[in-house]
């Protein structure tokens, strides 16, 4: 009897240790984004394979799962969802190749958006080099976001990327890009063409950044454009 009790206690102790270890492992595992249940099995498998490849290449998988969820929410068919996820994974991979292994998830995401907006990989590479120092990765992510915004407003991708690169090379801080977005937005509302607005505003910013003695103009009005919160 004593031997049986001892065996049972030993088994319980071992189970407890195993369970505690399992719990620690589960708690420490990164939260994997879940794919929507509505996806058919072939599409689900295809997207899981794409995400596995992306993970192996060091790319963020959260945007891929989000893209699949967006497609499901919008009622897209499975083939279209898989194609959209594949396209985004390719853009993220191209952004990684252009921006280098040091680019974090936010920079990669913004870089992928820039590529999908029409910026060339070579231009993105130059932007990555320009943003490596001294502005830092946060300024680079914001700069790329600004670039995508300009392209979305109708500025040619080549002009937009050259303009942003100029500012990055002059060490423009993150706040400068938000101000620039607001200024360009206001100019477009006032009737200027997107191209002219970007060209003139960037020229002004370059003069300010390149000539430290030049006094800065008063900051932009506090009103925030509708698209920029």
């Amino acid at each position: 009897m004593r031997c049986s009790v001892r065996s049972a206690c030993g088994a319980l102790l071992a189970l407890g240790v195993f369970s505690a270890a399992a719990r620690v492992a589960v708690a420490q595992a990164p939260a994997e984004p879940a794919l929507p249940a509505r996806l058919g099995a072939p599409a689900h498998s295809a997207i899981v394979a794409i995400m596995d490849s992306a993970r192996a290449a060091g790319l963020p998988t959260t945007p891929l799962a989000a893209k699949a969820a967006e497609g499901v929410l919008k009622g897209a068919d499975d083939a279209r969802i898989v194609e959209a996820v594949r396209s985004l994974a390719k853009a993220l991979g191209d952004a990684r190749a252009a921006l280098g292994p040091a680019a974090d998830a936010s920079v990669l995401d913004a870089g992928a958006s820039a590529l999908r907006a029409g910026v060339t990989p070579a231009a993105l590479h130059s932007l990555g080099e320009a943003g490596a120092a001294p502005s830092g990765p946060t300024a680079l992510a914001t700069a790329l976001v600004t670039l995508v915004d300009f392209v979305a407003k109708g500025v040619p991708p080549a002009l937009a990327s050259q303009s942003i690169e100029q500012l990055l090379r002059l060490g423009a801080p993150e706040s400068r890009f938000e101000t620039l977005r607001n200024e360009v937005e206001a100019d477009i509302r006032d009737g200027q063409s997107p191209e002219a607005a970007v060209t003139s505003r960037v020229r002004t910013n370059v003069q300010q950044l390149g000539a430290p003695g030049v006094p800065h103009p008063p900051s932009s009005p506090p009103s925030v454009p509708e698209s920029t919160r």
Partner: protein
């Protein structure tokens, strides 16, 4: 002649048997004794538990309780983490590097309104919006890192664009999103 031989053989066999009965038994090996003894004992015990039934039942109950406690603990951790994420993203305690962004939509007759976007994995249950006291405006404040986010409102299960925001130019599914740019300040 043959009868005489048969009698002699019978007499010899009987003599050998009588001698064997009187002889000392042949000593058996110790291992053989042990095996025989074990076999004898096994025959005597009809059924033996390696763990007594009550102990086994108690152990099973303890395992079930332990398993339930662990499952509860893991689920509780997960829920706590996701709750923390939502609180942080709703602006209650915006994470460092994130900026509070307020989204609002007018939907006077709606029963349930939420916001979906790149920032919450397009999960319609993720960020419910709250009806303001005017009875028509739904709003939520979300903590977002600098970036460009596509989003939409879900009004009673139907997607709706934010009429006050810019439209996404790069939609993959033929349904344009609204876009918010965050950061820089």
């Amino acid at each position: 002649m043959s009868e005489q031989r048969e009698n002699d053989e019978l007499t010899g066999t009987l003599a050998r048997a009588t001698r064997l009965l009187h002889d000392e038994p042949v000593p058996r090996a110790a291992w053989r004794e042990a095996v025989l003894e074990a076999a004898e004992r096994a025959d005597v015990r009809p059924l033996a538990w390696s763990v007594r039934p009550m102990v086994a039942i108690a152990a099973c109950a303890a395992c079930l309780i332990l398993g339930a406690a662990i499952t509860y603990g893991v689920l509780h951790d997960r829920m706590e983490n996701s709750a923390r994420e939502i609180v942080a993203s709703e602006g209650g305690s915006v994470r460092p590097g994130h900026l509070p962004v307020r989204f609002a939509v007018e939907a006077p007759n709606a029963v349930h309104v939420s916001i979906v976007g790149d920032f919450n994995g397009w999960n319609p249950a993720g960020l419910p919006m709250h009806l303001l006291s005017d009875g028509r405006t739904w709003e939520v404040e979300v903590g977002l890192a600098p970036g460009r986010y596509a989003y939409a409102f879900v009004v009673d299960g139907r997607l709706a664009r934010d009429s006050s925001a810019a439209e996404s130019g790069t939609d993959d599914f033929g349904v344009p999103n609204s876009v918010v740019l965050v950061g820089g300040s």
